[in-house]
């Protein structure tokens, strides 16, 4: 074996090892959560209210609450984020003002989530009198998800070749027709990826919902968007630290359900992406 081959072998080994190091924590977490939480999994756990000081029963209201919050977040952040990204990429002129907007969008994603929580509490709960409610919580989570949605949509739009736009415009299509038929279809996979990533984060966040929506214990389902709900991440926090003597498998079971929910969202996005790819024959 000569020197170059040996060096290559060493390089591959090192790279492979580093990759393994990166994946290892994820695998360990999954193993840990599944092995300890699997015991809690049952139809009853998913469909029952918590009972007896949350030491028995299930997580049904928290599960429903989180799903409602994700839907609410999506309802606000998806149209706002995608439309503003379209404006920034396709319509806005490149000047100091738009560059500042783009920069601040990127920087918004670095703001700690508890700050979003405080902002949501002041603006939606107190100032706009929404109270602690699904509406206030969804809006807060939506604002938190916007930067990632805008940034990934922007990148997906910019990745569509300029020539597609020229073809469409040169045939006499209007700007909006061009965006609608010649740009968006090719950007959808990228938009989906960013959106799901962002919504997964929203599903798992505790800080933004702490003051805006999450209920400690609420053994019934909400009747309107102005009601409070329980939510999985906050419920996990509560049963792990605030309530004594909750069986360990309940905490890990709650975590497992949250992970499964996020995985499910990712699977849906993968299926959708494959569907759009096939239709458009990239």
């Amino acid at each position: 074996m000569n020197g170059a081959k040996l060096r290559e072998k060493i390089a591959f080994t090192v790279l492979g090892f580093v990759t393994l190091l990166v994946i290892l924590p994820i695998l360990l977490i999954l193993y840990y959560v599944i092995s300890r939480g699997w015991g809690a999994m049952s139809w009853e756990f998913l469909t029952q209210n918590p009972r007896n000081g949350m030491k028995e029963g299930g997580i049904f209201p928290a599960l429903v609450g989180t799903i409602l919050l994700v839907i609410g977040t999506m309802a606000f952040s998806l149209p706002l984020g995608i439309l503003s990204a379209i404006y920034l990429v396709e319509y806005a002129r490149d000047n100091l003002f738009t560059r500042m907007i783009k920069l601040s969008v990127v920087n918004l994603s670095g703001i700690p989530s508890i700050v979003y929580g405080l902002f949501g509490f002041t603006v939606f709960v107190v100032f706009l009198h929404f109270g602690a409610s699904i509406l206030a919580g969804s809006l807060t989570l939506a604002i938190m998800s916007l930067p990632v949605i805008i940034t990934s949509t922007k990148e997906a739009l910019e990745a569509v070749p300029m020539s597609y736009r020229e073809i469409s415009l040169s045939l006499g299509a209007t700007r909006w027709q061009t965006i609608r038929y010649c740009v968006l279809p090719y950007a959808i996979p990228g938009i989906l990826t960013g959106t799901v990533l962002s919504l997964s984060r929203a599903a798992g966040e505790t800080a933004p919902i702490l003051f805006t929506v999450a209920a400690f214990y609420l053994p019934h389902l909400p009747r309107s968007v102005f009601d409070q709900v329980m939510a999985l991440p906050y419920h996990l926090y509560v049963i792990s630290t605030q309530v004594p003597n909750v069986p360990e498998k309940f905490s890990f079971g709650t975590g497992l359900v949250l992970i499964a929910l996020v995985c499910l969202m990712n699977v849906v996005s993968i299926v959708l992406r494959a569907h759009f790819r096939k239709k458009k024959q990239w």
Partner: protein, 252 residues
């Protein structure tokens, strides 16, 4: 063959990118149903002139333009973008097809102009592909992806796509620069046939190509229109020495 009836007329056309002037005082008439060749070395403003005619230059925010372009006797600035670009189609240098089926590539134009009737679109697709000399090669695989066609076929598909919106003028921006000689000949054949019905402007780096297909030829140099004349006259007896130098290969 050529009627002396100008479909496009430019009056003192000046074009700038920021402070850089790329075209100076271009006064040029384009006659109905002629093939006008535009030759000249790189950076002489040929492509900018072409893209000024259907206003594609305005996509570049640094672009400015002075002077008048008349289309069918009307000041072109009075015509909306989508109407003007439909009337004046363009074929780009590199074959640029959308990554959708052959059929959908051709149908795209009519669809954005509001044609909804499926049979009418079918007929337009077939007619356009026939005019572009592509129909026989693709009629059995209209529903396959356009990206699977060869370069020459893709370029003829681009021509068909432009024809499908029923333009009056077709601009070609070095349409054969990426094609082999046989594909080039096919594209040139298509142009010859189309000249009965359409006005065509051909920008090319290949002086022989302009000599083969164009009725009149214009010579651009450093943003100026040096001269324009019947192709035969320009090639055999140019009135400007610079044209002669360029054609005989002294520069460029």
């Amino acid at each position: 063959m050529v009627e002396q009836d100008a479909i496009i007329k430019t009056l003192d056309l000046n074009c700038f990118y920021d402070e850089l002037q790329v075209l100076r005082n271009i006064n040029l008439e384009i006659y109905r149903n002629e093939i006008l060749g535009i030759i000249g070395p790189a950076n002489s403003g040929k492509t900018t002139f072409l893209r000024a005619l259907n206003r594609l230059n305005s996509l570049n925010i640094n672009y400015r333009q002075q002077g008048v372009i008349r289309f069918e006797g009307q000041d072109a600035t009075q015509i909306p973008d989508s109407v003007l670009r439909r009337k004046i189609g363009i074929i780009f240098a590199m074959p640029q097809v959308l990554p959708i089926t052959i059929y959908e590539n051709v149908a795209y134009g009519p669809r954005v102009h509001g044609v909804k009737d499926g049979q009418r679109i079918d007929a337009l697709v077939m007619e356009s592909l026939q005019k572009a000399y592509l129909w026989d090669e693709v009629k059995d695989r209209l529903q396959t992806s356009a990206t699977k066609l060869s370069g020459g076929q893709q370029q003829r598909l681009c021509i068909a796509r432009t024809l499908a919106v029923e333009p009056d003028v077709i601009l070609y921006d070095e349409p054969c620069s990426g094609l082999d000689p046989i594909s080039t000949a096919r594209v040139e054949d298509a142009m010859q046939q189309l000249s009965q019905q359409y006005t065509q402007i051909l920008v090319t780096n290949n002086t022989k190509q302009a000599a083969r297909v164009s009725h009149r030829t214009a010579f651009f140099l450093m943003g100026e229109l040096v001269e324009v004349d019947n192709t035969q006259v320009l090639y055999t007896n140019p009135s400007d020495k610079r044209t002669d130098d360029y054609l005989t290969g002294k520069f460029g």
